[in-house]
Each structure stands twice: as structure tokens, then as C-alpha cells.
Symmetry: C2
Subunit: 134 residues, 2 copies
């Protein structure tokens, strides 16, 4: 199967697949006589695994670790569990930060409806919206 079809089926860019090969995340697959990459179902499994790992928030390097562990015959699930736990912690923190930012932006929009030159307010240097957030 050629790279374009693989990309279509998995919903990845062909560039991405070649990139994964270039960083040796996937092995170099055999070529057709014309020099085209020729992928097997196993290659596609591997790519799908990578895609899922990415979707779960694993970095390419973490995915690489999992693949290496697997190649050495070890069970990578403990490692994955660690990563997933860490990931959950990061996500919770990220959500909290985003929510705080959202609230701040909402407050900012509220001030946008205030008169811009309330008595006693200094003239804004750049943009009173942004300066109000300092």
C-alpha cells in the first residue's frame, strides 16, 4: 500500500509519515521498483498505535519508549500507566489555568463596556484593555 492511501486511511499527512520515518520512529519500509514506499498491515498497525498514543497525549519520545520496551519483550504497560498518570495531572492543571484565563478575559470584556475615560483613570499608553489586565 502506498503512502497516500495509508495517510488517507489513518487521517495523517504523508509528510508526517515520512517525518516519523526520518526520526526512526517507524522503520524504513521496502520500496516498489519505482521507489515508492510500500506499507504492510503491520506498518499501518504501528502508525495507528502512534496516532492513538499522540491522541492520548504521549509525546513522540514517550511513544518511542513504549515501542522500544515492546521490542525488548518487556511489558510497557507500567510505563504507560506512569505516563498516563502524569498526563492526567498535567491536564487537570492545564484546565485550571485555562479556566482562570477565561475568567480573566471575561472580566476584561466587562471592562470594555465601561466608559473608557473614567475620571481619575490614566490615559492608556497602548490599549486600555490590555493595560487593565496588568
Amino acid at each position: 500500500m502506498r503512502i497516500g492511501q495509508v495517510a488517507d486511511e489513518l487521517g495523517i499527512n504523508t509528510k508526517t509519515i515520512r517525518y516519523y520515518e526520518s526520526i526512526e520512529l517507524i522503520p524504513a519500509v521496502p520500496r516498489t521498483p519505482a521507489g515508492y514506499r510500500d506499507y504492510t498491515d503491520e506498518d499501518i498497525d504501528r502508525l495507528e498505535f502512534i496516532r492513538t498514543g499522540r491522541r492520548l497525549g504521549l509525546s513522540l519520545d514517550e511513544i518511542r519508549q513504549v515501542l522500544h520496551l515492546r521490542e525488548r519483550g518487556e511489558q510497557p504497560c507500567d510505563y504507560v500507566l506512569d505516563v498516563v498518570h502524569r498526563q492526567l495531572r498535567d491536564i487537570d492543571r492545564h484546565i485550571r489555568e485555562l479556566a482562570a484565563l477565561r475568567d480573566e478575559l471575561h472580566r476584561l470584556l466587562d471592562t470594555a463596556h465601561q466608559p473608557s475615560e473614567a475620571p481619575g483613570n490614566p490615559a492608556p499608553r497602548y490599549c486600555r484593555l490590555v493595560e487593565a489586565a496588568s
Copy 2:
């Protein structure tokens, strides 16, 4: 004021300030006879403005737009309002996605407590945790 002190006061890296200068987000400030950058209070205001904009989620390019608008004597607040509205939409979507991912990871951890070789389950190729998420 020299770059180190500015960096300390604003809580930015000196490298970052030089980087901003290199991409012409801030002007090149005058130098002392020894060649050291010498910052005025106005420069620091500008940097603080940038820092706040970044904290609000504006990209450096968006910040650049605001600064340019301001230099041309236009009121950038409408532009900033647009950016902030878009930003809010993006944040909400991002939070929703992260929450969905979090739930998925939680479900994943639940399956981690299931027996790994339930009858009828295919043997995992790489890691049953990740494969369960496909």
C-alpha cells in the same frame, strides 16, 4: 537600566528580551559605551505590555499588530476585542477537548484494573492500554 535588571524585574529571561529585539518586536535600545543595552522606563512598559499580552494568550504576532496599530495612531482595542473573543472560543474548545481526554484516560485506567487476558480478547500487539483506546 541593564538587561539583567530588566529581566529580574519583569520575570523574563534576558535571552527572551534579546530575542524580542531580534524579531523587531521591540526596538533596538541605545547602548552604553561598553556596548551594554540600556533600557528606559518606556522600554520596560513595552516589555510589560508584551508580557501581559502573552499571559492573555496573544501570540507575538498579534501583539505586534497591536503595537503597530498603536504606532499608527489607531485605537487597537477593537482588534484586541476580536482577538480576545476568538481566544475565548478557542479556550472553551480546548477545555472541552482536555476534559474529554481526561475522561478517556480515566476509563483507560479503569481497564488497567481488569484482567489482561479476558477470554476472547486478542493478545495485545504493543500495549493493551493503548490499544484499548483505539
